[in-house]
């Protein structure tokens, strides 16, 4: 009951600031990403999962190039900054030399689905014990909102001003649909941070992916759909709805593969872990 906000009288205490909710592995809440950006939320799910598993001092992050690169300044985790698209191979080399560590990559759709698609496919097929985190906003946010390999049909970007046209621009890649069936993939899921329930589910997915890695089950991936109001050229407050209705239609959320078994239909991660 104490969680319910009373509206019949003024609150007893002032509203809590986001800083008070800062995950342990975050150095500050001060970063330069846009208001309404989904990437800081997605990062939280990763940092909180590391803490949940007690791996704070045994975790290495390998970071791609995109807006999320700037988030490295607030991450309290040992990091390797990789090149655009190349994080899965770098993570592979690190994991082979330090199998006791929890290794994750942080990549965008431009990074993973465009520049480095072969890297992630090979890493998954090899069944490499690493977890790739894909922050999918359907654009190159960093360069100013350009079309990527995951941009959905009809989506307006700086180089598809009238919307992505399948006949002219080709079709988007469903990354989880592509990677889940590979033999080396132990766990594959797609979450979204457009609402509180989505954030909670995403966090469970990330945790389950990390658990698969720590058990040595093989490759794991969590794609997280994130808002990019700036790159979508929409008002900040419309970001979550846009994500849900426009992106969510093609990039279906849910667990696609668990314990090495493909699911018939993407399903929510079980609540009790």
């Amino acid at each position: 009951m104490s969680d319910i906000i009373r509206t019949d009288r003024p609150p007893e205490a002032a509203a809590r600031k986001t800083g008070e909710f800062m995950p342990t592995l975050q150095l500050s809440t001060d970063h330069d990403l846009c208001p309404g950006c989904g990437e800081p939320l997605a990062l939280r799910t990763v940092l909180e999962s590391i803490v949940d598993l007690g791996m704070s001092q045994q975790c290495v992050g390998v970071i791609g190039i995109g807006c999320y690169t700037a988030l490295t300044s607030i991450m309290d985790v040992d990091l390797i900054q990789a090149l655009h698209g190349r994080a899965p191979s770098v993570a592979t080399g690190s994991k082979r030399m330090r199998p006791e560590t929890l290794i994750f990559t942080l990549q965008g759709d431009g990074d993973m689905a465009n520049e480095g698609l072969q890297e992630v496919i090979h890493t998954a097929a090899r069944g490499e014990s690493v977890t790739c985190i894909l922050l999918n906003n359907g654009v190159f946010g960093e360069t100013g909102g350009h079309m990527t390999a995951t941009t959905v049909i009809g989506q307006r970007t700086k180089n598809s001003l009238d919307g992505r046209d399948a006949a002219y621009h080709g079709h988007p890649i469903d990354m989880i649909g592509l990677l889940a069936p590979l033999g080396g993939t132990a766990y594959a899921a797609r979450g979204s941070v457009h609402d509180a329930a989505g954030v909670a589910k995403t966090r469970r997915m990330v945790r389950r992916a990390f658990e698969a890695q720590l058990r040595g089950d093989g490759f794991s991936i969590v794609e997280i759909l994130t808002m990019c109001p700036t790159g979508w050229f929409i008002p900040t407050e419309e970001g979550p709805d846009y994500l849900d209705t426009v992106m969510g239609e093609i990039h279906v959320t849910g667990e696609w593969k668990r314990d090495g078994q493909l699911l018939q239909q993407a399903a929510d991660p079980p609540e009790a872990d």
């Binding site: 342990t24 900054q81 770098v90």
Partner: protein, 359 residues
């Protein structure tokens, strides 16, 4: 002594393992393939890992991740494969990571790539060019030491001859000066304490917004200046009263040295100079070696690349003439007709004409 007849590829893999290399990743390409095969065969029993990477792009990425954890790691290819790796090699250098890279080149036409680098930005690699299998065993071990000492990639320039010539050699583990702890290496241990590591090439510092490439890269430049001053290596002989100086590196130097010795035995005043490090180039030593000569002849198996550095060293004190050239076999592996004592002797003799070197 337990000398054994070994091809260069096998000897270099053994030398790397003796030096503590525990990770290798590569993608087949002649004449590099046998080096990869030897690592694949030998590393697992030495407690290491060799990954047959799906591409050179991925091979260099894997080696990057491995050396970032503090493990001794290497990758390699032939010049073409190294072209693919350049983006990463540049970043690895500027993230100050100690990677060893083998170029088992097709001839000597990758001199520019090795010494200038094909990647972006200001960066330098130490480049060692062994003359034979015995020296390669030493260079490979030295490369791992220098890479750790400077926190910088070191490249070994080999070729088909080096990789495929069998020589009687003994791979003995060498001792070097002690190295500092690798407290920079990522193992996750600094997470959660407010002071994590971030191995990056653009001056990002945890806890601080933005990047600072300017001061970061200036510090790197100072390191590269120090490397340049400290690591020049060369070999020379028969310099006394020489009228003609023959300059060559790697496999070609073995031919050049033989011809110079032959001519000296006949009383011809000809000298020999070999840069052992291609970068840093031993400019001052070469200038000194060339001080009294009437002519400098450069023997290299390419259209003329090292000759730039020779000219920059000699600075007009003597005319510098190319006596090498493009020379390949029909398969393109760099085993051309120039790799022949009589041919090279003929070219040196041509260069001698008018140099006053004949008694």
């Amino acid at each position: 002594m337990t000398r054994r007849l070994m091809e260069g590829s096998e000897a270099m893999a053994e030398a790397a393992i003796a030096a503590g290399c525990r990770f290798f990743a590569g993608y087949p390409m002649t004449p590099f393939t046998e080096l990869l095969e030897n690592f694949a065969a030998k590393l697992p029993t030495a407690g290491g890992t060799c990954i047959n990477a799906e591409s050179e792009l991925e091979a260099v990425g894997m080696a990057w991740g491995a050396c970032a954890t503090g493990a001794r790691a290497a990758t390699g290819s032939t010049g073409q494969g190294l072209s693919l790796m350049q983006e990463s090699l540049s970043e690895i250098t500027r993230a100050e990571l100690p990677l060893v890279v083998f170029n088992m080149a097709r001839g000597q036409s990758d001199y520019y790539q090795a010494t200038r680098g094909g990647g972006h930005g200001d960066y330098r690699h130490l480049v060692l060019a062994p003359i034979d299998v015995n020296e390669a065993i030493h260079h490979v071990q030295l490369a791992f030491h220098l890479a750790d000492h400077w926190r910088n990639p070191v490249l070994i320039y080999g070729d088909y001859l080096l990789g495929h010539t069998a020589e009687a050699v003994d791979v003995v583990r060498e001792g070097f000066d002690p190295l500092p702890e690798k407290d920079w290496a990522v193992d996750g241990s600094r997470g959660g304490g407010g002071d994590p590591r971030n191995l990056n090439p653009i001056g990002m510092v945890p806890g601080i917004k933005g990047i600072d490439p300017d001061s970061f890269w200036k510090r790197l430049q100072a390191k590269h200046d120090a490397m340049e001053a400290a690591e020049k290596r060369f070999d020379q002989e028969h310099l006394e009263d020489a009228e003609l100086l023959v300059v060559a590196f790697g496999s070609m130097a073995r031919f050049a040295r033989h011809v110079v010795r032959e001519l000296r035995a006949e009383g011809v005043r000809v000298g020999y100079f070999r840069p052992i490090t291609l970068w840093p180039f031993p400019s001052e030593a070469l200038a000194q070696a060339a001080a009294g000569v009437r002519k400098v002849a450069v023997l290299e198996q390419n259209a003329g690349q090292m000759i730039d550095d020779v000219r920059l060293s000699v600075l007009g004190a003597a005319p510098v003439a190319p006596i090498g050239g493009i020379s390949s076999d029909s398969a393109g592996f760099g085993v051309g007709p120039l790799l022949d004592i009589e041919t090279i002797r003929g070219r040196v003799e041509n260069a001698l004409d008018g140099s006053g070197a004949r008694a």
